[in-house]
Symmetry: C2
Subunit: 254 residues, 2 copies
C-alpha cells in the first residue's frame, strides 16, 4: 500500500521528533482522509469563510500566527512550517483570538474534526503525541516571550534565525548552509517586537559581522557559534529529551 506517500507525512515526522509512534499509529494517522486546499499568499486561514469543525496541516508554504492590536501594530506569535498542525484549538475555543495567515502561497490539508476525534479515540498514543506537540508549542512560545521581553534587538533577530534553522533541519527543509525563510523584514519585525527599519539595520550588522546572510528569501548561517552565542540560543526547548527508551511510557510519563 502507498500509505507512506500520504500528504500527512510531514505531520508524522514532526510527531516522531518527540513521540514514539507504532506502525499502527503511523498507518492510522497517514490514512486520515483530507482535502488539499491551495492557499494564496497573505490570506488568512480560518477566517469566517472556512467550514467550522475543520483543522488542517500545513503542507507547503509558510504561515504565521499573529494578532493585530488596536493601534494597528501586529505581533507574530509563531511561525508555521511544513508539517505544523493548525487550528487544533480552534474547535476547543469558540472563536480564535488570533489569526493564522499565509506568508507565502502554499497548500494545507483540511481534516474534519470528527475524523481526528475518531483517530485519537482509537489511538491513545496519538493523543499523547499531539499533547506532546502542544507542550513543545508552549515551550517555543515561552522562548518567544523571553526573546521579546528581555533580549536586545540583535539577539532577538539572531535567536529567531537560530530557531528557524533547527526547525527546518528537523523537518528536512534545509540546514545551516541554506534554508528558506521567505519573510519580509516587516514580518521579522513583527516576530521580534521591532520595526522593519530596525530589523534592517540589525540585519546589516549581522551580515557585516559575517554571522549570516539573507538573500532572496533564503538564509545562510556563516558563523553558527557566533550567532547562537549572540542569541543566547539553547536548542534544548526544541528537542525531545535524549537517551530514553522509546516505549510510550518513557515518552510520556506525564
Amino acid at each position: 500500500m502507498s500509505l507512506s506517500f500520504s500528504g500527512l507525512e510531514p505531520l508524522a515526522r514532526k510527531l516522531e521528533l518527540h513521540s514514539y509512534l507504532s506502525q499502527a499509529d503511523r498507518d492510522a494517522l497517514l490514512a486520515l482522509p483530507f482535502l488539499v486546499r491551495p492557499v494564496p499568499a497573505r490570506t488568512a486561514l480560518f477566517r469566517s469563510f472556512d467550514p467550522s469543525g475543520y483543522s488542517c496541516v500545513l503542507l507547503e508554504g509558510y504561515a504565521a500566527r499573529s494578532k493585530l492590536l488596536p493601534d494597528g501594530s501586529r505581533q507574530i506569535i509563531d511561525l508555521l512550517l511544513r508539517g505544523d498542525p493548525i487550528g487544533i484549538e480552534r474547535t476547543l475555543f469558540r472563536r480564535a483570538d488570533h489569526v493564522v495567515e499565509m506568508l507565502t502561497r502554499g497548500k494545507v490539508a483540511m481534516i474534519a474534526g470528527a475524523e481526528l476525534e475518531a483517530l485519537v479515540a482509537a489511538h491513545p498514543n496519538l493523543l499523547r503525541a499531539l499533547w506532546s506537540e502542544t507542550m513543545f508549542g508552549r515551550s517555543i512560545q515561552r522562548e518567544w516571550t523571553i526573546n521579546v521581553g528581555r533580549r536586545k534587538a540583535p539577539a532577538r533577530v539572531a535567536h529567531l534565525l537560530c530557531e528557524m534553522v533547527v526547525r527546518h533541519e528537523q523537518q528536512g527543509l534545509g540546514n545551516r548552509a541554506s534554508f528558506e525563510l521567505p519573510l519580509t523584514q516587516g514580518d521579522l519585525a513583527d516576530c521580534t517586537g521591532l520595526t522593519a527599519v530596525h530589523v534592517n539595520r540589525v540585519m546589516r550588522i549581522l551580515t557585516e559581522d559575517r554571522l549570516v546572510r539573507r538573500v532572496r528569501g533564503r538564509v545562510a548561517i556563516h558563523d553558527w557559534e557566533g550567532l547562537s552565542n549572540l542569541a543566547d540560543f539553547d536548542r534544548h526547548y526544541l528537542d525531545k529529551r535524549s537517551a530514553r527508551s522509546a516505549s510510550i511510557h518513557a515518552e510520556m510519563p506525564l
Copy 2:
C-alpha cells in the same frame, strides 16, 4: 468519604473550568496520593535537590516560571496560582530550560510521576483535561508574548493585572474589588519586560488615574472598564468556549 477534602481540589477546579470530569474522574484525581511540602519564599522548585520523577501542584502561595539571561536580567514567563500544576513537562524533557521559583512561602503537593501515569492511563478523559490545560497554558503564553512584544508599558502592566484578576476569580481567590498579588515591583517588571523603576512610575500613573490601587501585596481594581480598555484585554483566552454541551466529545473534539 472525605475525598472532596483532598488537597488537590484546586487542581480539579482548574480542570473543570474547561473540561468536563465525570464523578469517577474527579474521585480518581482527588484520590491521588501526594506529599505536602512547605516551601520557603524565593526558593526554586525542581532544582537539583528534588527527587526526579515528581511533579507537583501549587497548594498555597505564589510561584513564577522564569529564566535568567546571561546578562543577569530575568524574564518571568508565567505566574502560578493555587491549583496550577508544575513540572508536568519536567519528565517530558530531560532538564528544564527554565526555573520555577516561589515568590512567597507556600505549599506544594508532590505527586509521583508513576501515579499520574497510572491515573491518565485509567482515565483518558483526565488525560484530555490535562491536554486542554496545556492548550490554555499555551494560549496564556501567546498573550504574554503579545504583551511584551507590542504594548506600551502602561498597557503591559494593566494587561497583567487584568489577567490576574480573572485567574484569581476563576480559582475563587478574590475579585476585582480585591485580590492578593504579593509581587514586588521588580517581579512585575520581570513579567512585563520592564524595569522596577519604570513599573513604579507606571503604577503611579495607573493609581493617579484611579484605575487601580496596590497596597501591601493586594490589588483593587477601581475602574475595570478603563483598565481593560487601556490593556486591550479580552478575557477570551482564559475562558472555555461558551454554550456547548459538556460531553467529552464536545469538550475536546481536537
